[in-house]
């Protein structure tokens, strides 16, 4: 391989690194000062691309292009300030999880607003006036615009550095990143500081998005792509470190470029296609970095508060609970005699997602560990079940029964890494594993069918009627959910909760906290895997989407909607979410907008989750 082969890819990678840095630095600044993990940061980036392209469509020439970029940055900054003042300002004192849920809701709302304004089709942007040509460097044609972007990275880093070191505002931001309370005691009103940081961070996200318009079309899935990339950069660089973000963006840009340039290489007799690694290499880098340096390359050990240290009472299910459960399941079993087929399909979905949400809740509630990548286990279950039937010729029932074991094995492996970290870092690592799983499914064409997925995975004949499959799903989901609840209230579940409530106390009482957290992973994974297996036969096909970030987010929303502190909450949340999604989809294509608005209203009105808040309104005497 010569330099001429490598150079174009390297330039491309470095150009990507620049926008990645802009995006990530905004996220990092916002987190550093407000401690909010802003999932909507990718949505701001997406808005930047759309607004930028719209301006160039209306105003031609250099003014339209460069003016468009500036307008996009400023418009997105305004949107960021609106999000901060209307939503986040009200919930800075709420648990981190609810801030997270609120930003998820913003993601949903922004996505549908973009759909309304700009439509579902990707929109190509213009090329940059004056920078449309390529220059020849060492025999390679290098686009001028790429060179411009490469210069932008260090320029923005320099400007940010000047802003943070030479202005009073910058000094206050740095001080607040270290010790917010002390800054307040010195007379600084944090509210303005927070709003200002949000404006700057959003401006950077908007600019990053707008600067990409000559290189990639505006599309509605940019939000989640951007947020995951930004998370990876920030976590690898170290939360709150600007220089860390810059280095991490460069490293990721270069490594991705190398993977493309290397192509297929013979290693020890095997042909390894490195180009396929591009989708996953940043997550491998992140997993590797976190394994060696749990706080990222330039991060300092900051006290990352555990996201879910609820102190609310958890009452062990008594006889009445069990009776209620049996009656509930019996009623559900009677449903096929009264409702139509449409509702049965919806019911099957609800059962599947109730199990999925309950399994995620097992990690988040008793385990106190937030997972951003729970769909990995769901998707792994779906693929394992499908492949057992398709490739190994197993029966459907055999595949469904075997799947939880396979998912548990995966959970054991993933969990081993994850429990070494805590809080946001743990969540990020689960996200990394989920993305790795997704890209394997996406790229392993021979086995998984790649992006096309697998089709024709229908239930066995005896369960092919909608009502029969509904019963089958109920027969698996109800005992599985019950089993998860049982473990929660078995000695293991109590040891897990003990480690969450008071880790030092639990260790002093002989409880191996890390190991209990580790073992929670296979249990949760088994539940999610079973849900995935039931899902695939109900749909008859599957694609990598089954384990995309969006599904992990759906799971989180279900759990948080229902409330982390109750057993029934996640099940109720799953039912509510799935029903709302279905209901709104029937009336409007903008179901995300409705759902996001509902979630936002719920978060602002009930910062404890729906079931949690309802039970707080109607307290049931003393604990039993």
């Amino acid at each position: 391989m010569t330099f001429a082969d490598l150079a174009p890819q390297l330039v491309n990678g470095l150009a990507n690194a620049s926008t990645l840095f802009l995006l990530a630095s905004g996220l990092s600044l916002i987190f550093g000062v407000t401690r909010v993990v802003n999932f909507a940061h990718g949505s701001l980036y997406m808005l930047g691309t759309y607004v930028g392209i719209s301006v160039t469509e209306h105003v031609s020439g250099p003014l339209g292009f460069w003016g468009g970029i500036v307008v996009a940055g400023l418009a997105v900054a305004v949107v960021g300030v609106l999000i901060e003042t209307l939503v986040l300002k009200r919930i800075y004192h709420a648990p981190e999880l609810f801030q997270l849920l609120a930003t998820f809701a913003v993601v949903l709302i922004v996505k549908d607003l973009a759909l309304i304004v700009w439509g579902a089709e990707d929109i190509l942007g213009p090329r940059a006036p004056g920078l449309k040509e390529a220059v020849e460097i060492a025999g390679s044609a290098i686009p001028e615009y790429d060179l411009f972007l490469i210069a932008m990275g260090p320029v923005v880093l320099g400007l940010l550095h000047l802003l943070l070191s030479r202005t009073r505002w910058g000094v206050l931001v740095r001080a607040a990143t270290e010790d917010r309370e002390m800054v307040g005691a010195l007379g600084v009103n944090q509210a303005w500081l927070f709003t200002g940081v949000f404006a700057l961070g959003s401006l950077l996200a908007g600019l990053a998005g707008a600067l990409q318009i000559p290189r990639e079309p505006a599309s509605l899935n940019l939000d989640l792509i951007a947020i995951t990339d930004a998370f990876v950069v920030v976590v690898v660089g170290g939360l709150g470190s600007l220089h860390g973000a810059f280095v991490a963006a460069l490293v990721i840009g270069i490594v991705k470029a190398l993977c493309v340039a290397l192509g297929t290489v013979e290693v020890a007799g095997f042909g390894i296609d490195f180009t396929r690694l591009t989708l996953v290499v940043e997550f491998l880098l992140m997993a590797g970095t976190l394994a060696v340096r749990p706080f990222g390359l330039f991060g300092r050990p900051v006290a990352v508060s555990e996201p879910s240290r609820s102190v609310a009472a958890v009452v062990a299910p008594g006889k009445r609970f069990h009776v209620g459960f049996v009656i509930g399941v019996a009623l559900l079993a009677c449903a096929p005699f009264v409702v139509d087929e449409y509702l049965l399909v919806l019911g099957t979905d609800i059962l599947v997602f109730a199990l999925f949400a309950a399994s995620l809740h097992f990690l988040m509630g008793p385990g106190g560990m937030v997972s951003f990548g729970h769909a990995a286990f769901f998707g792994a279950g779906a693929y394992v079940a499908a492949l057992l039937v398709r490739q190994a010729g197993w029966s459907m029932l055999g595949a469904i029964v075997a799947t939880p074991f396979a998912a548990a094995a995966l959970g054991l492996a993933v969990g081993w890494f994850c429990v070494r970290l805590a809080g946001v870092y743990l969540a990020m690592l689960t996200l990394a594993f989920a993305q790795i799983a997704w890209s394997i499914a996406f790229q392993w064409d021979d086995v998984t069918g790649g992006s096309n997925g697998l089709v024709g995975i229908w239930p066995a004949d005896w369960a092919s009627a909608k009502r029969d499959y509904y019963w089958l799903t109920l027969a698996f989901c109800a005992p599985a959910v019950w089993a998860l609840w049982h473990v929660t209230h078995a000695p293991f579940g109590h040891a897990l909760r003990a480690g969450r409530d008071a880790p030092a106390r639990a260790e002093a009482l002989g409880i191996h906290v890390r190991r209990t957290r580790w073992f929670a992973f296979p249990i949760a994974a088994a539940g999610a895997g079973l849900a995935g297996a039931l899902f695939v036969f109900s749909k008859g096909s599957l694609s990598p989407e089954v384990m995309a970030i969006a599904r992990s987010v759906d799971g989180l929303v279900m759990v948080l909607l229902g409330g982390v502190q109750t057993l029934t909450g996640p099940v109720a949340g799953a039912a509510l979410f799935t029903w709302l999604q279905d209901e709104t989809l029937r009336h409007t294509e903008y179901w995300r907008l409705v759902l996001g608005a509902v979630i936002l209203a719920l978060v602002l009105a009930f910062p404890r989750g729906v079931v949690g808040s309802l039970s707080a309104l109607f307290p049931k005497g003393g604990a039993r």
Binding site: V311, H494, A495, D501, R505, A508, L509
Partner: protein
């Protein structure tokens, strides 16, 4: 024979020599208080014994066997229990469930995924709660307990492994004055009958003098005096550090 021996313990944090060569022992059944001004190294010293912090040098010997740097959960299996300055109970559980979790751990059942934790060992847990006088509140949620009662709950949990050594970090901190002696009387009653040794840090001098057999006085990471309460009280060096002789 001494139950606990600390030999030449050292711990540095950056440039700060938090514990600079501390040696002492605790005899079986003895109640020893570790005192000293703020920043003297009491907490660090205490955490070195309890396994929360690893010493840079020196050793800890329990019952003739080295336990230096052993994790708290391993020390628990060897009969060391502790309470924390900030009460740390399992806030999502009921009072009796807290004790049941401790008993389950003592019996090695923390990984049992089946069976009801609410029913297992309930009688044994209630018996422990009765010993600390909390049996009437056993089914309350532990967030509803008065502060002094959660201290007693912690004590009940610490007794779940029938310890030989009980470590208590500022056991009466944050309690109303009247409750303090009641709690320490309870500790004395519970431990004396079984010959349990107690090592505690405390800043309430009334408590220290009323409830310790022997005092260890730390200042700037060093042990500057030890002995019977009356002897330590008369020690001019001790008077000096408490009344400020540095200026």
């Amino acid at each position: 024979m001494n139950l606990l021996e600390a030999r030449d313990l050292e711990k540095r944090y950056g440039g700060v020599h938090a514990v600079a060569g501390v040696s002492f022992s605790v005899a079986a059944g003895e109640r020893v208080a570790l005192i000293g001004p703020n920043g003297a190294g009491k907490s660090t010293c205490f955490n070195l014994i309890g396994g929360q912090v690893r010493p840079d040098a020196g050793s800890v010997v329990l019952d003739g066997k080295p336990v230096t740097g052993m994790k708290p959960r391993a020390l628990f299996r060897r009969g060391v229990a502790r309470t924390f300055q900030i009460t740390a109970t399992f806030a999502s559980m009921s009072v009796v469930e807290n004790v049941q979790a401790a008993i389950a751990s003592h019996l090695g059942e923390s990984f049992r995924p089946a069976g009801s934790a609410t029913h297992a060992h309930r009688d044994a847990a209630l018996a422990l709660l009765a010993r600390v006088g909390l049996d009437a509140q056993s089914d309350r949620h532990c967030a509803q307990l008065a502060y002094g009662d959660s201290k007693r709950l912690e004590l009940a949990m610490a007794l779940a492994n029938a310890p030989r050594l009980l470590l208590m970090d500022e056991p009466t901190a944050g309690m109303a004055p009247g409750e303090r002696h009641a709690l320490m009387d309870l500790v004395t009653r519970l431990t004396a009958s079984d010959g349990v040794s107690v090592l505690f840090t405390e800043h309430d001098m009334d408590i220290v003098f009323a409830h310790a057999d022997r005092l260890l006085v730390l200042d700037r990471g060093r042990l500057i005096a030890q002995g019977a309460p009356s002897a330590v009280r008369a020690d001019p060096e001790v008077q000096r550090i408490y009344l400020g002789g540095h200026a």
